[in-house]
């Protein structure tokens, strides 16, 4: 064998090993950069409340009322009765109403949320840590954080850049040039471009959450995406996740099914139309496709398509983070 051929074999072997490492580094090797700072210990529901959530059952479950006490974010009991059913949750501070309807041959799930304080809109990181390839199912994260309602977030861990501010802590300050949804401590929402303001400045201005995915769907009540606009190379019809604000402390969490015979999926523009029809002043597209998951009262509401089970139960895709409503 000539020296040139030996060198080629050695090079190809090295290239193969490097390629396997690239794939492992991207999809498998877990890198934890820091722990989430949100204190969830104060959010533990009472045993009675957990029983009430279980009693509410799944999508087919019976309407159940309970006489339970919810705890506020400071851990003090407020003697609030949580009224829980299959499609509603109501206590002194949180009111959630879930509805399901068809739009463009697609099943759309809308959770209308009203809270007494913007502090009840929170985010959580998979396994309680910030890092790459740190993933967990949306429903698991929701359970672990005692969420009443949860949707998948921006899946920050799938990308190397883009601001990550969660619950008032800055985890990543590298710009990806995206338009971010910024949620401030006073409850206001704003769409900002990462190239125009630093993450540190956002934090100084009172930002408590950033969502770095996009695009923005609605701003000042008007649709801001074009009819043919898509997320990079995605096809037009997809499962979608979006979040919007209607008024102070009045939000909508929206998830649509897609990629199935029963539910085609929405284009970004169709999703923007849904958010506008719901009355959103600002609405933002979150990670969709197989990641799209909505969790409410202990159950997965939609039919995720991200797992090995195809779609429906057991087919959640593990993601980096969630957005949730919880005490």
């Amino acid at each position: 064998m000539s020296k040139a051929k030996k060198a080629l074999i050695a090079y190809m072997t090295a290239l193969s090993i490097f390629t396997v490492y690239v794939l492992m580094d991207t999809f498998v090797i877990t890198k934890v950069y820091g722990e989430a700072t949100a204190d969830v210990s104060s959010n533990v529901l009472t045993e009675e409340e957990e029983d009430a959530l279980e009693a509410a059952g799944g999508k087919q479950g019976a309407v159940t009322e309970s006489n339970t006490e919810a705890s506020d974010s400071t851990g003090t009991e407020t003697n609030t009765e949580a009224v829980i059913s299959t499609d509603t949750y109501k206590d002194e501070n949180i009111s959630v109403s879930l509805s399901e309807y068809r739009e463009n041959d697609t099943t759309v799930y809308v959770a209308d949320v009203q809270v007494s304080s913007p502090e009840y809109l929170k985010t959580a990181l998979a396994q309680g840590v910030y890092g790459r390839n740190v993933k967990e199912d949306t429903s698991e994260m929701a359970d672990n954080n005692n969420a009443v309602l949860a949707i998948n977030g921006d899946y920050y861990g799938a990308r190397e850049a883009g601001y990550v501010i969660k619950n008032g802590t800055l985890y990543r300050n590298t710009s990806a040039g995206r338009d971010d949804l910024v949620i401030y401590s006073d409850g206001s929402w704003k769409i900002v471009n990462e190239d125009e303001v630093s993450a540190e400045e956002l934090l100084e201005d009172g930002a408590v959450q950033t969502m770095s995915f996009g695009p923005a769907l609605v701003q000042s009540g008007s649709i801001t995406v074009g009819e043919n606009e898509e997320v990079k190379q995605s096809m037009s019809s997809n499962p979608r996740t979006a979040i919007g604000i209607i008024d102070d402390c009045h939000y909508v969490f929206v998830v649509s099914d897609g990629r199935t015979d029963e539910s085609e999926g929405l284009s970004l523009y169709q999703l923007a139309e849904v958010m506008k029809e719901l009355g959103c002043d600002t609405a933002y597209n979150l990670d969709g496709g197989g990641s799209s998951t909505m969790y409410f009262n202990g159950q997965i509401v939609n039919n995720p398509t991200g797992g090995r089970a195809g779609h429906g139960e057991g087919s959640e895709r593990s993601v980096s983070d969630i957005v949730y409503i919880g005490a």
Partner: protein, 143 residues
């Protein structure tokens, strides 16, 4: 068999290998795209272009012995270059379809650039050596 015909036959055999590589990459890309829920990546779709454009077509068109001038080292560098860029393109496509990124994918074009420089250096060095040895410039080869 005269020398020209021999070179041409060798070139056709090498071109066929690159054509097979191009077809395999095109098939792999098509299968991957089929299962990607409509998310497409140009890097995945057009990965086959590297062996086709940089390997198959040059060998078929090379009737002047230009590639031969680069010698076995040059041809090995060309093969490594095509493999590097093809694999890099497929990996970039996989990541794009999943919706993720990795700075490590930048290594492939960097390696490709280094191999291309090496290939050019080998080619010009061999040309200079041939001229210094008083050999004729690459003869026109025809089948």
């Amino acid at each position: 068999m005269n020398t020209q015909k021999k070179y041409y036959t060798e070139n056709v055999i090498k071109a066929r290998r690159y054509l097979i590589a191009a077809l395999l990459l095109a098939a792999a890309g098509a299968v991957y795209e089929f299962f990607s829920h409509g998310v497409y990546s140009n890097h995945m779709i057009y990965a086959f272009a590297y062996p086709l454009v940089m390997g198959c077509l040059p060998y078929l068109a090379d009737n002047r012995g230009i590639i031969k001038t680069a010698g076995p080292v040059g041809e090995t560098l060309l093969m490594a270059l095509i493999a590097t860029l093809s694999i890099g393109s497929v990996i970039k496509g996989v990541l794009e379809i999943y919706g993720t990124t990795s700075f490590l994918t930048a290594v492939y074009p960097v390696l490709g650039g280094m191999l291309l420089i090496g290939l050019a250096a080998v080619y010009f060095a061999n040309s200079a050596l041939s001229e210094a040895a008083g050999e004729a410039t690459p003869q026109i080869l025809k089948p």
